[in-house]
């Protein structure tokens, strides 16, 4: 009966096709869009229950639905690979996806492109399911590029504004850089193992000779390149803050909860390669660490509510990478799940604020919303608490705790203390957001109230964000036992430290932004801000760096070569031929006597050949 899981991508795909090709009223479009994902979610939950009741002996089950293409021995199939990791990812995608679909039905109610919006979202769910279900690299790549396409379409959803189109293009092109690296990695895997089947590759990697790890390091780094592009990690993180140009539920679904975690999934799925390549593991950990610190600092100073959340997403995914890099595999997936809950919650709450405040996004235009929007306020408190990982009562605490414990146990002191510093920064910026938006003097009064189908997902996600920490993920058959699960050591001092740090951060935020002058509107303006602040606000000026380093030289080169140097040769040949042509055409005088004379001349020449030769 696990075969039914093949329907998971098909329902949203069907929904996409119906929404694209059938003209329908907005209400019906919402029903189709939400319904298809809802059915998929039910299928996933049913499959998960069945799987847990009777787990297969191998730890996974592969189901083949048909051959995709057949080229000699190369026969990639439409086949899925079901294990607990897949099921967890699918649950997040369809579950959170369904809630966000329902929320969108309320949020997008005034929009002209209602059906188009749900078509894109459905296509995204379909592609993302294919990505996590795929049991071969080719199918995985199909899903990978499919979600990239949907991301592009949805960032540029309001395409009439050229800035949105530019943001969409940026996201597409930047992720394409990572995808290129990943494709090379896939091709290397194929060249090395002569198969694209993931279980076969992983089995071969596990059984392989461990002395020659160079190829694994190379493949690992290339795969990391792909993951870094999709998950907006250093150095390809620049696209994600701009991706906030899309509708807010899209930011919640694609650019916080699901798609950006695809890189984490990729590394977790192919973890044996990284286990064989310690250097690649280190690279993953350090990419995560640097990203989380950089993005955390940027999040501290942003003034746009969505950009704060975007930088915090980058930062939290940095934690996941850090966890992967130190071998705390299941902790990373755990954090992926809790992050999906609380970040979706935060984005949807922010969306509600934006919705009710006439699409204002500057946090200094808000303030004092605590009493006016109580439900949103509570959701936001839960989300921020989870993000800041307030001890014992939030899900974020348990997952981040596991990652940092893993880092501590791995013996990488620098990574661990960097992660702890990141936790402090996280707590500060998340409560800065909360204090500025919901406390203090009101600057704008909300004139709309969120509809019921916007409130219900908030409540459900709030519950998940609180209780998600209690879920014990059955990942022991899929991922190796992490260093954090090593119970031989006594962790009490570290645990206490990790519980105190967020509280310290909250207190710091209170003094800085609630009591101190840093929370005032004047400080939030771009002008007059200290240079470090504006530097952070621009995301460590990575955009300017890339612009100067890559974009401008390339544009200059393209401009220089507008007339194509290579083509000059061919143009020269045509021009020469044309010139010769004109010279010859001068003999075309149109004069009959001239032609006759030429003929006689020719005859004379031929005759002289007869005479003299």
């Amino acid at each position: 009966m696990l075969h039914a899981i093949g329907w998971v991508p098909l329902f949203p795909l069907l929904g996409f096709l119906v929404l694209v090709f059938v003209r329908m009223p907005a209400r019906l479009a919402a029903w189709v869009g939400c319904g298809s994902v809802g059915i998929s979610a039910l299928v996933v939950f049913a499959s998960a229950l069945m799987y847990l009741q009777a787990p297969p002996e191998d730890g996974y089950q592969a189901i083949t639905y048909g051959i995709w293409m057949s080229i000699g021995n190369f026969q990639p199939a439409f086949s899925v690979y079901v294990d607990t990791l897949t099921l967890i990812m699918l649950s997040i995608i369809t579950g959170v996806g369904f809630l966000i679909h329902v929320y969108s039905a309320g949020y997008m109610v005034d929009d002209d492109g209602y059906a188009r919006y749900f078509a894109y979202l459905n296509l995204f769910i379909a592609a993302m399911s294919v990505l996590v279900l795929a049991d071969n690299l080719l199918l995985l790549f199909l899903g990978w590029e499919g979600v990239g396409l949907c991301s592009y379409l949805l960032i540029g959803f309001w395409y009439r504004d050229p800035e949105n189109g530019a943001a969409a293009r940026k996201a597409f092109v930047v992720t394409r850089i990572g995808d290129t690296a990943m494709t090379i990695g896939f091709l290397l895997l194929f060249a090395h193992f002569s198969t694209v089947n993931i279980p076969a590759i992983l089995a071969a990697v596990v059984n392989a000779d461990t002395t020659d790890t160079d190829v694994y390091v190379l493949i690992g780094l290339l795969l990391l390149g792909g993951a870094v592009g999709k998950s907006a990690q250093l150095p390809l993180q620049t696209w994600l803050p701009d991706a906030m140009a899309g509708p807010t539920p899209v930011s919640a679904l694609i650019h916080a909860a699901t798609m950006v975690t695809a890189g984490v999934y990729l590394i977790a799925r192919l973890h044996p390669i990284f286990v064989q390549a310690p250097l690649a593991m280190h690279a993953v950990a350090w990419v995560g660490l640097l990203t989380l610190l950089l993005a955390g600092c940027s999040a501290l100073v942003q003034v746009d509510i969505k950009r704060i959340l975007a930088y915090s997403t980058i930062s939290q995914i940095g934690y996941m990478f850090l966890g992967l890099g130190v071998g705390a595999w299941s902790a990373s997936i755990f954090h992926l799940m809790t992050h999906a809950f609380f970040k979706a919650l935060l984005f949807l709450s922010a969306g509600t604020v934006i919705f009710c405040l006439h699409h204002k996004q500057n946090i200094f235009d808000m303030g004092g919303l605590r009493t006016r929007m109580p439900l949103t306020f509570i959701s936001f408190v839960i989300g921020c608490g989870s993000l800041a990982s307030l001890p014992y009562i939030t899900s974020g605490f348990y997952s981040k705790d596991e990652i940092l414990l893993g880092a501590y146990n791995s013996g990488e002191a620098l990574v661990f203390w960097g992660g702890v510093a990141g936790a402090l920064i996280t707590a500060v910026y998340s409560f800065r957001l909360l204090f500025i938006v919901f406390f203090g003097d009101p600057h704008t009064t909300p004139d709309k109230s969120p509809s019921l189908n916007m409130q219900v997902p908030l409540v459900l996600l709030g519950i998940l964000s609180v209780l998600g920490g209690a879920i014990h993920l059955p990942l022991q058959n899929v991922l190796p036992l992490g260093t954090h699960e090593d119970s031989a050591h006594d962790h009490t001092p570290i645990s206490v430290l990790l519980a105190v740090i967020p509280l310290l951060g909250v207190a710091l935020a209170w003094f800085l932004f609630k009591r101190g002058r840093l929370g005032s509107a004047a400080w939030g303006q771009a002008q007059g801000a200290p240079s470090l602040v504006s530097f952070w606000r621009k995301g460590w000026a990575f955009d300017q760096l890339y612009d100067g380093l890559l974009v401008r030289p390339f544009v200059a080169l393209a401009n220089f070569n507008k007339k194509d140097v290579v083509d000059a040769l061919y143009h020269g040949i045509t021009q020469l031929a044309q010139w010769l042509h004109f010279q010859v055409s001068h003999t075309q005088t149109g004069n009959v006597r001239w032609y006759a004379g030429a003929m006689v001349f020719g005859v004379t020449l031929l005759t002289s050949a007869v005479v003299f030769l």
Binding site: G597, V600, F601, V603, T604, T607, S608, V610, V611
Partner: protein, 167 residues
């Protein structure tokens, strides 16, 4: 005696041909052209080709030249045309073609006199021509008839709008 008549007719032909290309009056040229055709016919006769001689007189001097005469009549070229034609014949116009043509002539003569000089021995009568024509050359006859057909249609087509105008 026979040789004398040959050289006399040759001289007349050459003279007539030169006159054709130099006259300013189209009618004069035409008359000289007829003369050249007739003298050519005499030469054919002397060579022992009486059938060719007869055809030369009938088709060339008869049919083709009559066509020319009709056209000249239709064009209705008056004295003005003659004067204009005379103006066009300036000496420098003749220079280039004359040089080119004499070069060609010299070459032809060189080729001609590489062979030993022989005389024409045999006469070929009409019967022999007819037998060969409708024997091995049957296909050529058919092609010639197609050509004549094409000429007929072409001439008809070119002449038609003219006739309409007349009506």
């Amino acid at each position: 005696m026979e040789m004398f008549t040959f050289y006399l007719t040759s001289g007349i032909t050459l003279w007539a041909v030169i006159m054709v290309v130099t006259r300013a009056n189209a009618v004069h040229s035409l008359l000289y052209l007829i003369l050249s055709s007739l003298s050519m016919a005499v030469i054919f006769f002397q060579m022992g080709a009486p059938f060719a001689a007869a055809l030369e007189v009938i088709v060339y001097a008869g049919a083709i030249m009559v066509l020319f005469v009709f056209v000249v009549m239709m064009l209705n070229l008056g004295q003005a045309a003659v004067e204009q034609e005379r103006l066009l014949m300036t000496p420098h116009i003749w220079r280039g073609p004359a040089i080119l043509a004499s070069l060609l002539l010299v070459e032809l003569v060189i080729i001609l006199y590489r062979q030993p000089s022989v005389s024409v021995p045999a006469a070929v009568d009409a019967k022999e021509v007819g037998v060969t024509l409708f024997g091995p050359y049957l296909l050529a006859v058919e092609l010639a008839s197609v050509l004549l057909m094409a000429g007929l249609i072409g001439a008809y087509h070119l002449g038609r709008p003219l006739m309409k105008k007349r009506l």
